[in-house]
Symmetry: C2
């Protein structure tokens, strides 16, 4: 995984700078981004023919009395959308969270204009808990909502 | 503010160990708790006759394209509930967020069984965006929901 970072960072950087899907600072160094993306419980890369098509990171959403709910983040390499990479990574998160004994998975901030993500997560059993109005400043659409999404897993189902 | 920490930590510790309202680890050292509570943009204490009645911490809820929404956390000293301390601290957050140019305030995790907090925030103009089911493990009530709450401020109103 550590050896994969030089191949992950261009994906992270391109998507962050585009500014359409994540509220990360757009000026993180490779080292700062590495800590952010690989500092959770588990980081995954989707690989085909030695090429990284996407990556995910996951872990508990909160500490203490909230650590039984997992969360995750996903990036598909630019140009690799529409090939099912995000779905594979999402299915992997659901499986992992169940195996690890989490009771549910929460996404804290899905940009409401990110139609691909909204559709994908709903098709994987996530529901929109609510949408915080104007919480994301989209470079094209202006202030748009951030959706909290959730699905139970394992004993929480 | 730094000089107040020795008086704040017993409040933080008592409330965290009680485990009814925050998903913080319950075994933080004073130094770890200090970083967590005072590491935001601004930390406030409510004082009467040289006694600390409560404390709040506040800052941007997200980085980057989400940094126009503020968040905050609050603790009222045990035994000092019902004296309007939480309300004063909440009104201070709303005023501060407006002055700083935030467009709204989001609470990410209000425990749904915390009736005092739920009532207070709604009376200060916050709405429940949604409730994540079972996301908090309450020592008495078991798995209960965590509410996302929001109110606009300033230009976001």
């Amino acid at each position: 995984m550590a050896a994969d970072w030089p191949a992950i960072f261009p994906i992270f950087s391109t998507i962050t700078v585009a500014g359409e899907t994540y509220a990360y600072p757009d000026d993180l160094t490779s080292e700062e981004a590495r800590e952010l993306w690989t500092g959770g419980s588990r980081c995954v890369v989707a690989v085909e023919d030695d090429e990284i098509l996407g990556t995910s990171t996951m872990g508990p959403n909160r500490t203490g009395r909230g650590d039984h709910i997992a969360t995750g983040s996903f990036m598909v390499a630019p140009g690799m959308q529409g090939r099912g990479v995000g779905r594979k990574l999402g299915e992997d998160l659901v499986r992992w969270a169940g195996e690890e004994g989490f009771r549910g998975i929460q996404f804290n901030a899905v940009v409401e204009t990110n139609a691909g993500a909204m559709h994908l997560w709903q098709s994987l059993g996530f529901e929109i808990i609510g949408t915080v109005p104007g919480a994301f400043h989209h470079p094209e659409h202006g202030y748009v909502g951030l959706c909290v999404m959730f699905r139970p897993v394992g004993t929480g189902a």
